[in-house]
């Protein structure tokens, strides 16, 4: 039943008015480590002279976060969840120029109350 729902519901709240959590399926997580592109790094360095948004990095980190969410969602699908609640993000610099982005949450089966 849960697998038929192709779109997973994601949220960083753990209690939902109008819904009931019918099954807890445990922690799911997804992470990705991305390094900066050399070309992008040079461009960002140039951009940093005048300040403002560093679009290359924004894009890079957004892509990585999306990837982390997708991996987390894949895990949630595998255990038969239809929602991941209480999602948290964390970013860590593991080496100069590389960042790990982690997304984690609780996989559940969420049902709408009538």
């Amino acid at each position: 039943m849960a697998n038929s729902a192709s779109r997973l519901m994601l949220s960083n709240i753990e209690y939902f008015p109008g819904y009931t959590v019918s099954k807890h399926l445990g922690l799911v997580q997804g992470s990705t480590v991305r390094a900066k592109h050399v070309g992008r790094d040079i461009m960002a360095g140039l951009k940093n002279i005048v300040g403002g948004e560093l679009k290359g990095y924004t894009e890079l980190l957004n892509d990585s976060r999306q990837e982390a969410i997708e991996r987390m969602s894949a895990q949630a699908h595998a255990v038969g969840a239809n929602a991941v609640i209480n999602v948290r993000f964390s970013t860590a610099n593991i080496a100069a120029g590389a960042a790990e982005i982690l997304a984690y949450g609780t996989a559940v089966v969420l049902e709408r109350r009538e």
Binding site: S11, I13, P17, G51, G52, T58, F89, T91, A96
Partner: protein, 163 residues
């Protein structure tokens, strides 16, 4: 003689670089603030709370995770200024504006995503800041930080929420 000339030209180059950084940095900043203010006005109908639970009028409505992020850097002129200022301590205005711009921008991007799904409010909003390290390490730090805002967007009910 030639040595002196080359030193002099280096100084001139640095001064020009600082000037360019200052002028373009200021232009960029005021343009960014104008755009922030305009979009904040356009998106004022989407309510943002850092409270966890939505009120009962949102019961059973659709929800989704929304997020916005931006990586902001400070320009070289202001960075040098901040470096000088930090000798005496106190507020570092140039970094304050950088982070303020970034945070408002990230909230706006989150709101834009919520607007696309037709949400009327965002609950449990969390703001995060992470510093990106540069290649040279901490000493020659590019002053840049990623600002993230995320929360759960809810589509409101058709009935007015004034209970």
């Amino acid at each position: 003689m030639g040595d002196l000339l080359s030193q002099f030209s280096t100084i001139i180059f640095v001064v020009i670089l600082m000037g360019v950084a200052f002028i373009f940095g200021s232009i960029g900043q005021s343009r960014h603030y104008r755009s922030i203010k305009r979009r904040e006005w356009q998106l004022r109908r989407i309510l943002v709370f850092n409270e966890k639970m939505p009120p009962a009028s949102f019961a059973g409505q659709e929800f989704a995770l929304v997020s916005g992020s931006v990586v902001m850097g400070s320009d070289h002129f202001r960075q040098v200024l901040a470096g000088l200022k930090s000798i005496f301590g106190g507020r570092l205005g140039s970094f304050e504006t950088m982070l303020d711009r970034g945070r408002r921008e990230s909230i706006l991007r989150m709101k834009e995503q919520a607007a696309r799904m037709g949400a009327t409010a965002i609950f449990n909003v969390r703001l995060e800041t992470s510093v990106l390290s540069s290649r040279e390490g901490r000493k020659q730090g590019l002053a840049c930080a990623e600002l993230i805002a995320y929360g759960t967007a809810w589509r409101g009910s058709d009935k007015p929420h004034a209970a």
